[in-house]
Every structure is written in structure tokens, then in C-alpha cells.
């Protein structure tokens, strides 16, 4: 049996149908997998980790579909992104336990309470806006290194050159910047 065209179906309808026939779920995978991969890769900076997170996220979406059905008015996209972000954080914490200090995801930026309680957390764009809002309140030299590192994806070497400082000094500056960011984020709760 072939599946009908998904054009006329809403995401939540597809999710309900997939509970009876899991093949329907492929429509949601087709629609969101690339965006999820981009978002997860933006957080982890690692393709393999991002793929694991995306797989886990989709399985969770399917498993906990009942939770979504019980909450009318919530958009599927927003709910799904929230699961993606939570899965990324859980993944990060697990890796941190297993491997010690894991660098790829910055807990200060992604576990910040003011961001994790944000209703639109699921959307990467909103998350970046939230981060940017806090960064604007920071001293300029600290804000600059965070922007270069997180928003422009520059390496330590690049930033050290731009800022004209040594590597240890840069690491110390980023460390201080994160601490200031965290304090400001907590003040914003």
C-alpha cells in the first residue's frame, strides 16, 4: 500500500496517523531532518553527534506523541524543536560525564536558565536572539570575543589575532565572558 500525499496534512495530523501506521512518520522526517541537523550541528559543532541527536529526537517525538496530542494550541514545530534542544543538552551532559570536559556545546549558553524557560526556546533563531540580548549588556571586549566565537564560528587562533592578545589571555577572556554571561542570564529570569 502506498501512502497518500502529505501536502494536505498538517504536522499534528501526520503525527496522529503515524501512531496507527509508522510509515506516515517519514513525512515529518523528510520535512524536518535537514533543519534539525543544522540546528544540532550548530550546537554540537560535530556532524556525528548531531546525527545521533537528530535520530534520538525523532524517536522521542514519536514515543511522546501522546503528550503533544494532550496540549492543544501548541505548534508541532515549536514542540519538536524543544525536544531537539533538550535532547542536545542531555546528550551533552552524558558525554561530559563519560569523557570529562566536553567542549563542543557550551553549557553556559545553552543551559542558561533564562533561555531554557523561554517559550520559544525550540527555535534556534530565537535562542540566538536571546543570547544576543544578553551579550549586548556585557562589557564590549567580553561581548566581542563571545560573538566571534559563537556567532561567527571563529577559531581561538583567529580571535587571538583579531584581538591582538595571546592564547592564554584569550582563553581567560572567554572564560570571564562566559561567567559574566551566566550572571546576566540568571538576572534575567
Amino acid at each position: 500500500m502506498d501512502l497518500p500525499n502529505s501536502n494536505n496534512l498538517r504536522d499534528d495530523e501526520i503525527l496522529i496517523l503515524s501512531q496507527e501506521d509508522p510509515a506516515y512518520f517519514s513525512f515529518l522526517v523528510d520535512k524536518y531532518k535537514d533543519a534539525f541537523l543544522r540546528a544540532a550541528r550548530g550546537i554540537t559543532k560535530n556532524l556525528e553527534e548531531a546525527e545521533d541527536i537528530v535520530q534520538e529526537t525523532f524517536v522521542k517525538i514519536y514515543k511522546y506523541a501522546k503528550n503533544f496530542e494532550k496540549r492543544p494550541g501548541i505548534e508541532f514545530k515549536s514542540w519538536a524543536y524543544r525536544i531537539l534542544i533538550n535532547t542536545s543538552i542531555t546528550h551533552y551532559q552524558k558525554l561530559k560525564k563519560e569523557r570529562g570536559n566536553t567542549e563542543y556545546l557550551d553549557p553556559v549558553l545553552y543551559e542558561s536558565p533564562s533561555l531554557s524557560t523561554n517559550k520559544d526556546l525550540g527555535l534556534e533563531k530565537d535562542m540566538k536572539e536571546g543570547v544576543e540580548k544578553i551579550i549586548k549588556k556585557m562589557p564590549e571586549h567580553l561581548a566581542r570575543v563571545l560573538r566571534l566565537f559563537y556567532f561567527e564560528d571563529r577559531s581561538y587562533e583567529d580571535i587571538a589575532k583579531i584581538e591582538n592578545i595571546s592564547m592564554p589571555a584569550l582563553k581567560m577572556r572567554i572564560f570571564r565572558a562566559k561567567r559574566v554571561f551566566k550572571n546576566l542570564a540568571e538576572e534575567n529570569i
Binding site: 502506498d2 501512502l3 501506521d21 535520530q55 525523532f58 524517536v59 514519536y62
Partner: protein
């Protein structure tokens, strides 16, 4: 290509979740009830004799088997009727679920093959 392999993995994982969370528990329940019903059926009905008679009749005219079976069912006690109906009902449910597993497996395989 890479994204398609992720899609395939996700779709099969979801199929397994569906199978083990929704279908297998139902299957186990149906099998348990089927065994129970068969146990009572075996105690109350001399099944072997019924089938022997049906076989003898079918040698003359295969169509009369249905008439014989229906007649045997009609003349039996209410309790036995209920048990036979329960057996048939559970059998239908069991077959329906096997059909669902196969159908969903085929659809999922098709979805996975699509590029």
C-alpha cells in the same frame, strides 16, 4: 545521500518502537486469551470428533462441510457457542494484527527505498 541514510535509520527505529510498544503487547494479550479459549474449547468440545465427521462429509460434497459446521454450532449449548465465537473473534483480531505488521513493513520499506 547522507541525509537519506539518517532518514532510513529513523524510519526503521520508529517502526520498531511502534511494533514493540503497540503491537507486541497486543499480540501477547491476544495469544494469552487464545490459549485460554482453546483450553476451554478442548475441555468442552470433542474437537477431534467434529473434524472427523466434517472430513467424512466433505468426501461426499465439500460444500456440506459449512452446513455441518453451522448445524453443529447451532445445536450446541450457549456456553460452547460463546467460547467458539470468542475463539473466532480472537482469531480475526490476531490475523488483523499480522496484516497490520506486514502492511506497515511493506509501506515502510517502500518509503525507505524512495530517494
Amino acid at each position: 545521500m547522507e541525509n537519506n541514510s539518517i532518514k532510513n535509520k529513523i524510519v526503521w527505529k520508529v517502526y520498531l518502537v511502534w511494533l514493540f510498544k503497540r503491537i507486541i503487547p497486543l499480540f501477547i494479550l491476544e495469544i494469552a486469551f487464545l490459549i485460554l479459549v482453546l483450553f476451554f474449547l478442548g475441555k468442552l468440545v470433542f474437537v477431534q470428533k467434529v473434524f472427523e465427521n466434517a472430513f467424512l462429509i466433505s468426501a461426499q460434497n465439500p460444500l456440506t462441510v459449512a452446513v455441518y459446521m453451522f448445524g453443529a454450532f447451532w445445536q450446541t449449548s450457549i456456553l460452547k457457542k460463546v467460547i467458539v465465537l470468542a475463539f473466532l473473534g480472537l482469531g480475526v483480531l490476531f490475523m488483523r494484527d499480522i496484516g497490520r505488521i506486514l502492511n506497515s513493513y511493506i509501506t515502510t520499506s517502500k518509503v525507505v527505498k524512495q530517494k
